[in-house]
């Protein structure tokens, strides 16, 4: 056979690089399988209340404990005292982010309520110094994902005839788990693209890429 050097150029590094890509792919797959094991979901995950009229995502995830500058208790506020999530996270229905409530909102109650508690005294000290606490972000999506709270609340809460607005926490728990049972928030849903997509498919949400990836 005549070797035609013009059509069959030999590239010495191509085999090596392909091998490396192959090995790399195996490592990635293996690591992800391992990762799933690491994030094994045990009995401790509290199932959230169900939102009527929707296909409710049932995937769970056990997040790490994220310490916060103030040991804020969601249980006392949203659980025991049944304060609507949107009372504090007031931006959720107006914006893509739900927003951490401004300190002025906390102080609206805590100038008179529970002023003897050490965590509240911490809060008051910050307010008097004019400093906001540096909260640590628990539910963080990559920058190329544009999730909007506003749209989801409209779909599952405000446009949902079977659900009263006072029951907002059921909708929140679709992605955040049963926050009303937690002190500081902990991630309890995977919030991966697969998680989003399955819920979008079940509830007939949009499926074009550019809805979320802008």
């Amino acid at each position: 056979m005549v070797k035609d050097s013009s059509t069959k150029r030999s590239i010495p590094w191509i085999r090596l690089s392909m091998l490396m890509v192959f090995v790399g792919a195996i490592i990635v797959i293996a690591a992800q399988v391992l990762d799933q094991k690491l994030h094994y979901v045990g009995e401790d995950v509290v199932p959230g209340p169900i939102v009527p009229g929707t296909q409710y995502p049932d995937e769970k995830f056990t997040g790490i404990d994220v310490p916060q500058p103030i040991n804020f208790s969601h249980k006392i506020h949203a659980g025991d005292n049944e304060i609507n999530c949107m009372f504090c996270h007031t931006y959720a229905r107006r914006s893509k982010v739900s927003g951490i409530p401004p300190l002025s909102k906390c102080m609206g109650c805590h100038t008179v309520i529970a002023t003897d508690k050490p965590e509240i005294q911490k809060l008051t000290a910050m307010w008097e110094k004019g400093e906001s606490p540096k909260w640590n972000k628990v539910h963080d999506l990559p920058d190329f994902v544009h999730f909007t709270h506003q749209r989801h609340l409209k779909r599952f809460l405000f446009d949902n005839e079977e659900l009263d607005v006072s029951d907002a926490k059921r909708v929140c728990s679709m992605c955040h788990g049963d926050i009303a049972e937690m002190t500081v928030a902990k991630k309890s849903r995977p919030l991966t693209m697969g998680f989003c997509i399955r819920c979008h498919e079940a509830n007939e949400g949009p499926s074009d890429c550019t809805k979320c990836h802008k």
Binding site: K3, K134, V138
Partner: protein, 726 residues
């Protein structure tokens, strides 16, 4: 060699599918990189204003300071940060549009290399100092001799405070320096038609014949002209003819691009005029007899022999202009950047006169009723004047802001030597550029998005507006101060009268504008800020026509070299864009090169010099040499080599420094005979292969489609039919 069952194509296919599978599977599993918990901070507001909603942007109006164009902008501010700029749709300058330099202003605002604190020279090097120390040092030295100011284009109340300060320190010279300008065209317009800044109606023209005027990228107000160019190109589609030695963005868009011998644009215009008068029966009313005889001497064949454009091409241009009225003839850019520059502009206006365009597509502009606020456009003749005066010892104290003379000046005009003769140099800048690095005191300025100001745009039609600039966010670097604040402070310190009542530049500006607008109400002021602009009284001008001096000295250089064209580009501009990664990484409009300089060479010339694409070439003039890589391209005259301006910084931060070469350094210092503009397209150079090759980093490897139909095209005839023609 045994044949493998799995050939490379199949293997790659398999790998691709596998990879896609892995990628999809990855979407579903917790990722290690992106889905963080507790890694980032969220800081809530203390007590926000009622309209503030995190995640929802609020748009504020301001003015772009990317060039002298003065486009009005809207900036989106979210969570206290400005994130995106857009054009203001209500502006008569840019009509909602914004160019890449305007967009990239964000990066000059958030630039990590901005100067954070005042710097004072101690024992030969710049060290950080407090504002008090820096200002008291200036106070001590500012009155120690003849003082001067050097700025870029400047207008509005910034101009007023600069001039107030200058007279308070007993100086009189204000050098406004802009390397990229339309000074030659504007001077010719002022002399010949009596209006230096006439309205140019590209949208009304059926043919545009442009001698080097790169109106889509660098001519007076490119965003404005690009918008009108869009209308010019809509049905019925106008024809654009561009004659220039090296292709510009406008040239790339032309229907007919004419690669002309550098410096001979006048003869092309004369040849076209000759054909118009002799073949198309155009009378040439209003043209002097001297000009007529000059036109008669330049029949297309003679003109062709001078300007290297075939005679039939010249006749075609004339036929196109004769058949489609109204037309418009412009001159600028490379056509005016040589010793005959003024002549080319005068010849272009002569063509407009004989074609009857004056008063039709070129109409009178309006003049500001308050000339003290008017725009000083700036030019490169002032750059040369600054160097000459500094060398003569006429300047003892120099204040510089908004320009970078040590980067812009050709070595031949001896700016460095002149600079060293100036006893005390103060630079007000937000970036440590070449000039700031060589100053005695550097005062850190706020960015254009953090500052107050008022500006007169370089060009607008109809009513003249005062464009307002307001801070879009809190300063990124807390120890910087606004330009107006600093100059007002300097003027007060120097004892300028009548300024004591103003605590800061905002107070001064607001009071000045309330006098100008004859209203002091809070509501009106807020409405000016919301609009980003406010009309100011202006006076009409009248157009007339008196022949300009047209002369053509043929480019007959026989030194065997090439003519260096230091070409201007939207993007790097005069070098101020080099510290912005968005502009560095945007492919050049013609060569598609990123992050580096290049030298455009015609394939014929390259072949005769033994140069291939990507070869390092040494370009040597009588004033030094630069080495960069060759880009072989047909869009250049074979007798020319073009290197873009803007790169080749030795300072200006991490993105600009040591990247590319600066062709301005090796210019021979020649000027346009009439205006004194530095001739950037006239230096003779010797080009040699430097003996190394490395492919240029560019986004388009080949300029042909090889049948891949990447861009679908149809013939002009078919296009006419689809647009309702016959």
């Amino acid at each position: 060699m045994s044949q493998s069952k799995l050939d490379r194509r199949q293997f790659l296919k398999g790998l691709g599918l596998g990879g896609a599978g892995v990628a999809l599977a990855g979407c579903d599993l917790p990722s290690y990189v992106t889905l963080e918990q507790g890694e980032e901070n969220v800081i809530s507001y203390l007590a926000p204003d009622e309209y503030v909603i995190p995640g929802v942007g609020v748009w504020y109006a301001s003015t772009c300071l990317g060039c002298a164009g003065g486009c009005s902008i809207h900036g989106r501010v979210r969570e206290g940060r400005v994130l995106k700029l857009e054009g203001n749709p209500d502006s008569s300058v840019n009509m909602g549009r914004l160019c890449q330099m305007g967009q990239a202003t964000l990066q000059s605002h958030f630039n990590p290399d901005r100067i954070a604190n005042p710097l004072v020279r101690k024992n030969g090097s710049l060290v950080e100092a407090s504002w008090d120390d820096a200002l008291s040092l200036i106070n001590e030295k500012a009155n120690s001799g003849k003082a001067a100011w050097a700025t870029g284009a400047i207008s509005g109340h910034q101009r007023v405070v600069v001039e107030t300060h200058l007279s308070a320190i007993g100086g009189s010279n204000h050098y406004a320096i802009e390397q990229i300008n339309a000074n030659v065209w504007q001077t010719a317009c002022g002399d010949i038609i009596g209006d230096p800044n006439p309205e140019i109606h590209l949208d009304k023209a059926k043919v545009i014949f442009s001698l080097g005027a790169d109106f889509l990228a660098t001519f007076i107000s490119p965003v404005h002209f690009a918008a009108h160019y869009g209308e010019f190109r809509s049905v019925p589609r106008g024809t654009l003819i561009q004659a220039e030695p090296a292709m510009s963005l406008t040239g790339g868009n032309a229907d007919h691009w004419v690669g002309i011998k550098p410096g001979t644009e006048t003869s092309l215009a004369l040849g076209v005029a000759n054909a118009l008068m002799n073949k198309h029966g155009i009378s040439g009313s209003g043209i002097s007899n001297a000009t007529k005889s000059l036109i008669n001497e330049h029949d297309p064949a003679t003109a062709a022999s001078i300007c290297d454009v075939p005679a039939d091409r010249i006749e075609k241009i004339a036929a196109s202009l004769a058949a489609n009225s109204p037309s418009i003839v412009l001159a600028g850019g490379t056509a005016t950047a040589n010793a005959n520059g003024y002549s080319a502009a005068a010849a272009a206006l002569m063509l407009n006169q004989i074609l009857g365009n004056i008063g039709v597509t070129i109409t009178s502009g309006r003049e500001l009723a308050y000339p003290q606020l008017g725009l000083i456009e700036g030019n490169s003749a002032n750059l040369k004047d600054l160097a000459v005066d500094a060398n003569k010892g006429k300047i003892d104290v120099l204040f510089v802001s908004g320009t970078n003379p040590l980067f812009l000046a050709p070595k031949s005009i001896k700016m460095d030597e002149g600079w060293n003769k100036i006893g005390f140099k103060v630079v007000l800048s937000s970036m440590l550029d070449e000039t700031a690095s060589a100053a005695d005191v550097v005062l850190p300025l706020a960015s254009s998005l953090e500052d107050w100001g008022s500006h007169i745009p370089a060009y607008s039609t109809g009513t003249r507006n005062l464009a307002l600039q307001q801070p879009l966010m809190e300063p990124v670097f807390s120890n910087t101060r606004g330009f107006g604040d600093v100059v007002l402070g300097l003027a007060k310190q120097a004892g300028a009268p009548g300024l004591d009542e103003y605590d800061d530049y905002y107070g001064y500006l607001r009071s000045a504008i309330s006098v100008l607008k004859k209203t002091d109400s809070e509501k009106e002021w807020n409405s000016f800020l919301m609009a980003g602009q406010t009309p100011v009284p202006s006076l009409g001008r009248k157009l007339s026509y008196i022949d300009g001096k047209i002369s053509q000295t043929a480019n007959t250089a026989t030194d065997g070299g090439l003519t260096l064209i230091a070409s201007a580009r939207m993007g790097m501009w005069d070098g101020r864009g080099a510290n912005l990664p968005w502009l560095q990484e945007s492919p050049d409009q013609i060569s598609k090169v990123v992050w580096d300089s290049w030298a455009e060479l015609h394939p014929k010339t390259a072949k005769s010099l033994g140069i291939k694409d990507g070869d390092y070439v040494t370009i040597k003039s009588s004033n030094g040499e630069i080495t960069t890589r060759a880009f072989i391209y047909k869009g250049i005259h074979p007798g020319a080599i073009a290197v873009p301006i803007g790169r080749g910084h030795s300072a200006l931060g991490r993105y600009a420094k040591n990247n590319g070469v600066n062709p301005l350094f090796i210019l021979d210092g020649g000027v346009d005979a009439k205006t004194g503009e530095i001739a950037t397209a006239a230096t003779r150079v010797e080009v040699k292969n430097a003996g190394k090759n490395k492919p240029l980093a560019k986004l388009m490897e080949i300029d042909r489609q090889h049948g891949r139909k990447l861009v679908a095209t149809i013939s002009a005839d078919k296009q006419r039919i689809t647009e309702g023609g016959t």
